[in-house]
Amino acid sequence: MKTFIDHATASTVFNKDEAHVNWHDETLWFVRSKRDKAVFQIPEWEQLREAGSQIKNHVLSNMHDYLVAFEKKATENGITIHWAADAKEHNEIVYKIIADTAPQPPEGELKSDSKTPPLGVGGLRMVKSKSMLTEECHLNEFLKEKGVEVIDSDLGERIVQMREEPPSHIVLPAIHLKKSDVGETFHKHLGTEKGATDPQYLTEAARQHLRDTFLTRKVALTGVNFAIAETGGFVVCTNEGNADMGVHLADVHIACMGFEKIIPKVEHLGVFLRLLARSATGQPITTFSSHFHKPREGQKMHIVIVDNGRTKQLGRPDFRNSLKCIRCAACLNTCPVYRRSGGHSYHTAIAGPIGSILAPNLDMAQNADLPFASTLCGSCSNVCPVKIDIHDQLYKWRQVLVQEGHVPTVKKLGIQSMASVLSSPIFYRTAGKLGRFLMKNTPFVTNNNLNVWYQQRDMPDVPKESFREWFIREKGKK
């Protein structure tokens, strides 16, 4: 288990390098601006969002039927469907498929005494394109312990994988890194020249390395962007074509999806494919939208459908529609807090506003800080292509977390005394007067390091009287 650092503390560390924070903020703002340009070219954009939202709402209310229909069609097409109740089951299913595919039973070669077996022995190898679900399930760690060598084929994911870091953004996994960081990583792992920062040169090195991977792996795993109940097929969207490269050259294709990825009909892709890429990067459509329907001759195709807390979230009336999410990351790019705190400060597979409303469902104690990592400015809800009321859900999670006892006692006491002051007019006036008196006459009480406000901000000037006092003096005369 990693040690847990809360969002505020991690953000403070991230903000030590202000120049880098500025770069991070401006880069993501640039993506947000590209999104704005793209959507403003579509006069019916708001109707399109409404359509996307309604289709997803409908799916959430008929989840059972659509999943059963999807399973039936996909099975008819020759795809094997697996159901996983949680992350562990998902990981075990994937491992079993890899082990069954491996040319020799791995046991024979696993004589080593060390606890962790060497990776890739006995053909236990897999190439994987982007899938946030497998991040959520910590599949890579699980497979590593089992001796499976996994290579992430999305460039950004490959970079963070080499660095043994989680992705910091659901669409741009290595956005927290500088060019020089990437150069250093490639120098260490791919033998590029020391100090190299030229993107062209570094990308070429990664390309060569991945090409070899694509040619030699027998098992390829992809995510799923949309699974279509009507046809039993699914669509994977990438910009690098890495998902296709992986599966076209492999004997086995495993596709992993959270059950909420389902949409009723093919025609609905006409809504979602338009929404997704514009919201994500400002492109009209992703470079590759690959449609899969059945295994090709001699290939096996598996789909793992995962619950992992989704049923529970579906059962929470205030939070169920977070399952409409299509993982476009628009809410991350627009979030002024995300842009300045970096994805890792959210200590959860999915960072940013959407992550903060999903994570408490899985573990309230561990993620109690996240719904507070927001000013509730509301920009996330406005960019969301499927109209999730993200900032309202952040507010509602705060209420739930407090009620369930997940907020530190100190804060609770402070708020309780604030509540009693503010609900009693006389108490309030005395406290206000006292506060202003202290600020004016003993500034050290408020202007010290214990006062968090004061560390980088001055206190307001203290007026000699409150408005109420002025009012009584001025208007009371009449």
Binding site: A8, S11, T12, N15, W29, F40, I42, E46, T334, P336, V337, R340, S341, F372, A373, S374, T375, L376, C377, G378, S379, S381, N382, V383, Y395, R398, Q399, V400, L401, V402, Q403, K411, I415, Q416, A419, S420, L422, S423, S424, P425, Y428, G432, G435, R436, V452, W453, Q456, R457, D458, M459, P460, D461, V462, P463, S466, F467, R468, W470, F471, K475
Partner: protein, 250 residues
């Protein structure tokens, strides 16, 4: 027209001039303004921290003070939004009436009083910080994320002020990072957001940051003072109420 004035707690205590300007402005525009003396707070600080359940007494006190008025007006978008969305006092009927009849100042001037011109002068370059709760919550202005025609109630009013010019910011509706208790719970991010918001204004040579929420202005003012910036903050009420012939400097 009988209007009750709701002065949020931090304005009452720290920025009485904003409340005075609001009162004078409303009176100038022909309203009969009542200031209920036992008002305290809208309950937002508790609720936004997850303690909505502790704001019951606060809600009841609010209802006691503000029931029975045609309109309630407040110089704060954030507090107004909170009342609109979350006021649930024991007296249900009165609570509902209040929720439906509370207005933020520029909203009230635009939609109820239908102000078309103002006798005010403020010969300065200003940047408009349209606070999030007013903008995205109360819809005082078109939001940059949505595909729709631009409008801004606040800007329209400011444009009636003689001599005033509004600078164009790089990010027209970026949050300033105040966020209630966020400003201390997430101090590092809050301050960084504030600094960036201020930089957008200095970059475009604004003399004032103007807004309809004192909480945001207080936060940015605190940072500006620490930086030794010459830029100042002003609440829209102070500008809309600024006389044609100055009473002696600003």
């Amino acid at each position: 027209m009988k209007v009750a004035l709701f002065v949020p707690c931090y304005i009452d205590q720290f920025y009485p001039n904003v409340a005075i300007a609001t009162l004078e402005l409303l009176e100038k525009l022909g309203c009969e303004v009542v200031y209920p003396l036992n008002q305290t707070c809208c309950g937002q600080p508790m609720a936004n921290s997850g303690f909505e359940h502790l704001s019951k007494d606060c809600d009841n006190n609010f209802v006691d003070n503000f029931k029975g008025f045609d309109y309630i007006v407040s110089p704060s978008g954030s507090c107004t939004l909170h009342i609109k969305q979350h006021l649930h006092g024991a007296d249900n009927q009165a609570s509902t009436h209040i929720r439906q009849h509370i207005y933020e100042l520029s909203e009230f001037l635009t939609d109820v009083l239908k102000v078309e011109k103002l006798e005010a002068k403020f010969p300065h370059r200003v940047g408009l910080h349209q606070s999030c709760h007013g903008q995205r919550g109360l819809k005082l202005a078109q939001m940059s994320e949505l595909v729709a025609e631009p409008f801004s109630k606040t800007e329209r009013l400011l444009n009636m002020v003689e001599g005033l010019s509004i600078v164009t910011l790089d990010r027209k509706d970026e949050c300033c990072g105040f966020g209630g208790t966020f400003c201390v719970l997430e101090e590092a991010i809050s301050v960084k957001m504030g600094k960036d918001r201020i930089t957008d204004h200095t970059k475009h040579e604004a003399e004032f940051i103007v807004g309809s929420d004192v909480s945001c202005l207080m936060h940015m003012e605190g940072i500006m003072k620490r930086q030794g910036s010459s830029m100042k903050v002003k609440h829209i009420a102070e500008i809309l109420n600024s006389p044609l012939t100055p009473r002696g400097g600003i």
